[in-house]
Amino acid sequence: MKYFPLVWAAIMRKPTRAVLTLLSVMLAFTLFGLTIGMNATFAKFKEDARDDRMFVFARFSGLVPVALERQIESMPGVEMVASSSGIGGYIKDPKNRVFVQMMDDKVAKVNPEYPITPAQWQMIRDDRMGMLVSKMQADRWHLKPGDTFVIASPMVKKLDGTMSWTFKVAAVTPDMNIFGQGYMFGNFDYMDKARTLSDQSKTGQFRVKVSDPTKTAEIAQQIEDKFANSATPLQTLTEKVAFDVTANTGMDIAAVDRDVALAGMFMVLFLTANSLAQAVRERFAEFATLKTIGFSDGGVIGLVFAEAAVPCLLGAGLGIGLATIISNIIPHFLPPGQGLPIPTMEVMVFVWAFLCAALVAFISAALPALRLRQMDIATALSGR
């Protein structure tokens, strides 16, 4: 600790350079935190996804007749089928985008892991305009149980020709990882009966639960085959695949994330290595003086490593802090309930960031340190 003023004085010798280096490191670690945090989210999605469920929807876009629900439910191995559809729109102003998932009665059974009590599900069954709002969304729109509000949905027209969907907050429920921006759940029947006749008795998707998780893929294929030549060909997507971003997109997004984070680290490495090399070069005679008055090779090298470590570790801390703030803010600007991934700033993200910061500091300081170790004091003092 007694050497810290010496290290700090060296760093602050060129304040502009120090601040710009710190800002660059901070921004690189913000990017690092967000990308690695995103990978943590993808991993969590994959981990939470269940083997015994799948989504079924129209192969060529559009809605699916609700009548198919019974046909799918009657297939061997299918335990239960639920319907859900969505109302996308806005509250008061088009920039206040929201998305309500309209759930039928059976969603509670197909997705029993949702942190919603039977009494809360019952609330939106009893009141067709009732809505379950997650805490994040309730906070964002300042909603509380009993509040009534209107969502304008240009995409989902009503039978009366308007696009105004009135909802009443039945309960505020806990948030879920899978809905990083929070969620709004409404009553499917309310939507179905209130919209234009051409869209009634149709749903956006089915949620299918099978009795044997090992047969999910087989049953999914059977469903697709069964309706392949119907008026509404269906497509299935197992929950494992749906929530596995790699399988879902055909791209190894996690690897792309890692590459972006790595590119950021290389940028920081070149930047800090260059700054440090320049700083050491400028102060070569000062280091020679320190060695003359008794600082050992190890002591001088330690100072250089500390000089590299301070901006790296401080920048990493600030960058990860900023990434945490951003990942907390993002959900408030995205419509709810669509499962858009939000970076998860778990402990391992912090650990990785600090390990990388330490490694960058070490590599940055290695060459200048080697040069100082090989320094001939007499020559350096003479300025030759």
């Binding site: 007694k2 010496l6 003359t292 008055i293």
Partner: protein, 230 residues
């Protein structure tokens, strides 16, 4: 009086590419403890080389360099570093202060290598600055001080760990006459009152006159000069 510095048949040559440039040819020198010795001579005559050898900053090609009873030629780089920290204070022509540290911070540097407490370090820094007459400038940075004041800080840094030997390389080379005289008087005071052995390299005959013994190097050999004043 025992010898503080003893050089015996010291040979030193520098490599310049493939060429070897001899600087000292079997040089011998005895400086008893408590002497203030000035070393003069033309450029390239080996003055700074002698200073570097005595200060353990460089090794002789052959011969013995004994300082404070220690055979420096037998010490490794790390041992020399430790030895320097406790036995030698260096005073440079261009002060070699850390520009971002205050005068007190600069003077404290050699004490950071000791196990002294922060308060004890501060006390010793204060004493050193008081000796050089800069107690009231402790918080000033080198850029805020005159050349003479900066050299006083350099001297305070050299004496703060209380080494028995001070090595001065052109300590007044960058100062005007009046300031140079003040610095030389301070060195005399350190020699007389604090019993420091001083070896000072200088080009300036007037500066050399402040020493109790004057020597001159020429072509790798060492000669005593007639003492003008002390």
């Amino acid at each position: 009086m025992s010898a503080a510095i003893s050089l015996r048949n010291v040979v030193k040559a520098y490599k310049r590419g493939k060429e070897s440039v001899p600087v000292l040819h079997g040089l011998s020198l005895e400086i008893p403890a408590g002497q203030f010795v000035s070393l003069m001579g033309p450029s390239g005559s080996g003055k700074t080389t002698i200073l570097n050898l005595v200060g353990g900053l460089d090794h002789a090609n052959s011969g013995e360099v004994i300082v404070g009873g220690e055979h420096l030629e037998t010490l490794s780089g790390g041992q020399l570093t430790k030895w320097r920290a406790g036995h030698v204070g260096f005073i440079f022509q261009f002060y070699n202060l850390m520009p971002m540290l205050s005068a007190a911070g600069n003077v404290e540097l050699p004490l950071l290598l000791t196990s002294l407490s922060k308060s004890e370090r501060a006390r010793r820094v204060e004493i050193a600055l008081e000796i050089v007459g800069l107690k009231d400038r402790a918080s000033h940075k080198p850029g805020e001080m005159s050349g003479g004041q900066q050299q006083r800080v350099g001297i305070a840094r050299a004496i703060v760990a209380d080494p028995p030997l001070l090595l001065c390389d052109e300590p007044t080379g960058d100062l005007d006459r009046a300031t140079a005289d003040e610095i030389l008087s301070l060195l005399q005071q350190l020699n007389r009152q604090h019993k420091k052995t001083i070896l000072m390299v200088t080009h300036d005959p007037k500066a050399a006159d402040h020493a109790s013994r004057q020597m001159e190097t020429d072509k790798g050999q060492l000669f005593e000069r007639a003492l003008v004043s002390a």
